[in-house]
């Protein structure tokens, strides 16, 4: 009976109910998206605001805050520091993380359970814990706080990202591939570089980009390990303590732009790879 009416479109309440439902869904989703993007929108808009205050409405458009950025040596220095730290930390996580993922995938060794838990711990625990425990370690060993200490801290905190991503990819890789490579005469090293690595490249790339981004934005661990040199988030943090400045909006907008470019690039890269290969 109901079907008959639906098909004949005779019964209005049914169709009306559907319309109301679609409308509510649409409204709800739009509201959520607005909520999510409102602050970002505000940030970008007010980076062009003429006056220092953040009142509504905006008083005028200007690029002066961006100009001021270019002259702010401290900020620029912290930017370079962040890039330096993020690059080194990413390389470190890859060098340590990829073998760790391979070990978890292929080998059995005493203490494997503990190893796996330890590697995942920094992600499960709040960053502050990693920060202070490394601070205590460095003090005990005698390493002074510096950008290099921050690099080690970031690498430790972010290794699990590389490990989980690469491990998941390795699990999906048929073990017969490595067997076939060995069967055809390749040594372990040759198999790794010629067969394994090319097939996990998307996971490595994705994890690398993610690690770089997280390191760039990292605060809890950096907070406790920074010495004289600041990273960008630490510089912004210290500026915020002194009060709001529109330059923060400007640098924030630039960071958003940079992140956008990064996301689009990684999506673009990964999409191409998915099309051409089927594993």
């Amino acid at each position: 009976m109901k079907n008959f009416f639906k098909n004949a479109n005779l019964l209005r309440p049914d169709a009306w109910l559907l319309r109301v439902e679609s409308f509510s869904w649409g409204a709800g989703i739009s509201a959520i998206l607005c909520f999510l993007y409102l602050p970002i929108f505000v940030l970008v808009m007010y980076s062009f605001n003429d006056s220092r205050s953040l009142t509504w409405p905006m008083s005028g458009l200007t690029l002066k805050w961006y100009e001021k950025l270019g002259q702010n040596d401290q900020l620029l220095q912290s930017l370079y520091n962040s890039i330096y730290v993020a690059s080194c930390a990413t390389i470190l996580t890859l060098i340590i993380g990829i073998p760790a993922a391979i070990a978890l995938d292929k080998f059995d060794f005493p203490g494997k359970w503990l190893f796996r838990k330890l590697i995942l711990l920094p992600i499960a625990l709040p960053g502050i814990i990693t920060g202070i425990s490394m601070l205590i370690l460095f003090r005990s060993i005698g390493i002074s706080l510096s950008l290099e200490a921050v690099i080690i801290g970031h690498a430790t905190a972010l290794i699990s990202i590389v490990v989980t991503q690469v491990f998941a990819r390795l699990q999906r890789l048929p073990s017969s591939l490595a067997d076939a490579s060995a069967d055809l005469g390749a040594s372990g090293l040759q198999t790794f570089f010629l067969i394994t690595l090319p097939n996990i490249s998307s996971a490595v790339l994705g994890a690398g980009i993610l690690t770089f981004t997280l390191s760039f934005d990292e605060i809890p661990v950096t907070f406790f390990l920074t010495g004289r040199d600041n990273t960008l988030p630490m510089y912004i943090w210290s500026t915020l303590r002194r009060g709001l400045t529109p330059e923060i909006n400007a640098i924030g907008t630039l960071i958003i732009l940079f992140s956008l470019i990064l996301i689009t690039t990684s999506v673009f890269l990964l999409r191409d790879k998915n099309k051409s290969k089927q594993t």
Binding site: I32, L125, P126, I128
Partner: protein, 289 residues
């Protein structure tokens, strides 16, 4: 003979860097942290000892308990809030959006904010909610307020709002991934058996999405629990969370032993929550998988 030897060497070469790193930078620091928690404060800094004074202080001084309770409460509200917003969004994406292209766009739209600095996203709420901020001036301009109100910022509600905002994308991802995996045939079978849409949702869809909800909830809860940035930015005097207290021990207070003890308490709480969540997740998987 060379075969077995070279395999062993290869294995050792692969295992050593991660194992050594894990030992030095993940195992040892926690061990030292544990040891530090028994040290004592000695002017101007602290000295080695073996005493339970720090733990006594934590257990007996009400201020620590209050802060912990407040932190747990805020973490709970944030996780609930994020779930309530994230679940409909994920549900909509998986079941209501027919075109794959739009689904991807909407998914990226909710995940993209994660790539923008956390500090900035929390900071913008400070600018929006402040007395000279956008919300106030907007309300002034349309006449709802006659003078700027300070009620929006520097309290727990502002913190909950800010943190919920930050963690919505974190919740959408696991829920989406778990809803996506529900085979369409299950819902169809349910309808076939005469269940209406509401009943199907509560008997089929919701239970199967529990692992995803639990995963997101736990992650949001633990991350909120350990956060010290949001309280600093928008929290105000009564919005102090446990992480702030710990941070101050390593700052001006120079009471590292107490800080270590507090950190250990935090570790225990977080690990307990993670274990409980693990149990729930396995329970959910076992019953419905």
């Amino acid at each position: 003979m060379s075969g077995a030897l070279s395999a062993r060497f290869w294995r050792a070469a692969v295992l050593s860097p991660p194992l050594i790193w894990t030992f030095i930078f993940m195992f040892v620091p926690y061990a030292i942290l544990f040891v530090y928690s028994f040290w004592e404060q000695a002017y101007p800094t602290f000295q080695p000892a073996f005493q339970f004074g720090n733990y006594n202080q934590i257990l007996n001084d009400p201020q620590y308990f209050n802060v912990l309770a407040r932190t747990l409460k805020i973490a709970l509200f944030v996780s609930l809030g994020a779930t309530l917003i994230a679940f409909p969004y994920a549900y909509f994406l998986v079941f209501k959006v027919k075109s794959q292209k739009y689904r991807q766009i909407l998914y990226m739209a909710v995940v993209a904010p994660l790539w923008v600095s956390y500090l900035l996203r929390a900071y913008t709420w400070k600018t929006i909610l402040g007395t000279t901020g956008i919300l106030n001036s907007f309300l002034l301009s349309i006449g709802i307020l006659s003078e700027p109100s300070s009620v929006f910022l520097y309290n727990q509600t502002a913190m909950i709002l800010t943190l919920t905002y930050v963690f919505i994308p974190f919740m959408v991802m696991p829920i989406y991934s778990v809803l996506e995996k529900i085979p369409k045939s299950l819902k169809e079978a349910s309808y076939d058996l005469g269940f209406g849409r509401t009943k199907t949702f509560f008997s089929v869809t919701l239970p199967l999405s529990v692992p995803g909800i639990v995963a997101g909830f736990t992650m949001t809860f633990c991350l909120t629990f350990g956060d010290f940035i949001a309280p600093f930015l928008v929290g105000g005097p009564d919005g102090l969370m446990i992480a702030n207290v710990i941070a101050s021990q390593f700052g001006a207070a120079l009471n590292w032993p107490l800080g270590a003890a507090l950190a250990l308490v935090m570790i225990v709480i977080v690990l307990t929550i993670v274990t409980i969540a693990d149990f729930f997740e396995r329970f959910g998987k076992g019953k419905f998988a």
